[in-house]
């Protein structure tokens, strides 16, 4: 378990991207990053801070220092479970979880490395089934994620029981307003393209 008090060495590389990441985070979230005074309450309550090399308070400090693309390689980005404990406990009312969401979106926009477990691939597999069927289709989502992440054997021993208990649906979902969902995905994509 890394120490939460000492050992915070931050290296700033000079080749910064033209548009600062901290500035983009401010634009997306409306959060005033400067109000963070490094009390580390977010890190104390974070369920994965003991597992990540860079806990949430350190991400905030790195944003203060206006780091470049190396921010997007921090392991916390894709280990963060979006539990929102950080936002709930921040004495300055900073929505740290929204900052993490913004960093993930920037990481995806800029094609940063997906990190262990490839969460962006999981999210994509999930949303692809939603786009197609209007609801999630676990079987297709799991197959697509497993193929892409080469985790073919993970959890296979549980499958027979899951199927016998009907905890995994074999057929895709029906009855959803697919037209509406496709419209939302299409419009969101158009907006994103216009935003760049």
């Amino acid at each position: 378990m890394p120490s939460l008090v000492t050992d915070m060495t931050i290296v700033i590389s000079k080749n910064k991207s033209a548009r600062s990441i901290a500035q983009r985070v401010r634009e997306i979230t409306g959060v005033d990053l400067g109000t963070c005074y490094q009390c580390k309450k977010c890190t104390s309550g974070c369920p994965v801070s003991g597992l990540a090399k860079c806990p949430p308070s350190e991400m905030m400090r790195r944003l203060h220092l206006d780091l470049g693309d190396e921010l997007l390689d921090s392991d916390i980005l894709w280990m963060c479970v979006s539990c929102e404990t950080c936002s709930t406990r921040c004495p300055m009312g900073i929505d740290v979880a929204a900052v993490m969401d913004a960093l993930r979106r920037i990481a995806m926009e800029r094609g940063a490395a997906p990190g262990e477990g490839n969460v962006p691939l999981f999210n994509k597999a999930f949303l692809t089934t939603v786009q197609a069927f209007g609801r999630t289709y676990d079987l297709a989502m799991i197959a697509s994620y497993k193929l892409g992440s080469r985790k073919l054997m993970a959890d296979t021993e549980k499958f027979p029981t899951m199927l016998a208990k009907r905890k995994i649906a074999l057929l895709p979902p029906t009855g959803a307003d697919r037209k509406m969902v496709r419209r939302i995905f299409k419009k969101t994509k158009e907006n994103k393209a216009a935003d760049k």
Binding site: E116, D138, D177, T188
Partner: protein, 290 residues
């Protein structure tokens, strides 16, 4: 008591038992639930990690349908509940988000549909007295750890559910059906949620902490109200045994299953056979009310 009811995608897959037991309990207590026709996925964690507008427009698609029904919306999946509540919150607090959602969905929606968790309906609309009056059996002091996880209680300014650090809704319901609601420290710790497949290692670590703490507090079962919490705490006990060599054998029940049993609803109608850790000790503990 009539409400619109959003089952959520997991109701058709991993959490059929949550859905079945919700419907059975509702019927038993005279609560009418109507599914909005054509309801769609809330986007879940993948949605809000990907795009802000997508994250609000997806739940709004269903909220628009509910608005046309003129009813309050009841949700039992904590994750869907959270996304619906956050969508309403963002739409009512940001003109820009409201306009972007109107553009995405083709309908201007004002964020006014009242979204409620099924637990809130049970406690506030039905009430513990009416529930106690309808009971056929009692938990007879069974020691229950109430586990709320993240998405019911956080972010509290959006969900407004109970107390974000020490919620008591599940505990009150457990007490109402004759159980002993334990005071324990991991009520609102995170189970790892959507990382179940991508970072199973993280989820095994977190769920082991939670189940071990419940056990140390003397729990005979854990009661939950979220499909992600349920499957992580239940199914990942197999991995905890394999990886860490610890066998917890802790039954993880939906609160609607526990309540349903005490209302005299047969186990098969509550989907109890779907649990990975068999709830035998819970079934044995239940005694007929005098």
């Amino acid at each position: 008591m009539r409400y619109a009811y959003f089952p959520g995608c997991s109701a058709e897959s991993t959490a059929r038992d949550m859905h079945q037991s919700t419907l059975a309990v509702a019927q038993s207590l005279g609560i009418q639930l109507a599914e909005p026709k054509g309801w769609t996925c809330c986007g879940a964690t993948a949605g809000h990690q990907t795009d802000r507008v997508l994250a609000v427009a997806l739940p709004a698609a269903t909220l628009i349908k509910v608005k046309d029904m003129g009813l309050d919306l009841v949700v039992n999946c904590a994750a869907c509940y959270n996304r619906m509540k956050v969508a309403n919150h963002e739409i009512t607090t940001s003109e820009q988000v409201r306009a972007q959602v109107a553009e995405a969905t083709g309908r201007d929606y004002d964020g006014s549909v009242k979204v409620r968790h099924f637990l809130e309906v049970l406690l506030d609309d039905v009430g513990t007295e009416a529930i106690a009056a309808a009971l056929r059996s009692s938990l007879a002091g069974l020691k229950v750890a109430s586990y709320y996880g993240c998405l019911l209680v956080r972010p509290n300014e959006a969900t407004g559910f109970d107390d974000p650090e020490n919620p008591t809704s599940l505990d009150r319901l457990v007490a109402a059906v004759g159980g002993t609601a334990l005071d324990w420290p991991h009520k609102v710790e995170c189970c790892g949620g959507g990382l179940s497949m991508s970072r199973t290692d993280v989820v095994v670590h977190l769920t082991n902490n939670i189940v071990a703490m419940a056990k140390a507090a003397g729990a005979e079962c854990i009661v939950v109200s979220c499909p992600m919490c349920q499957i992580n705490l239940d199914m990942r006990q197999l991995d905890i045994a394999k990886i860490k060599g610890i066998r917890h054998d802790m039954p993880i029940l939906y609160v609607t299953q526990l309540l349903g049993l005490c209302l005299g609803i047969p186990a098969h109608k509550l989907g109890l056979n779907k649990l990975m850790v068999p709830p035998d000790r819970v079934l044995k503990a239940i005694v007929n009310a005098a």
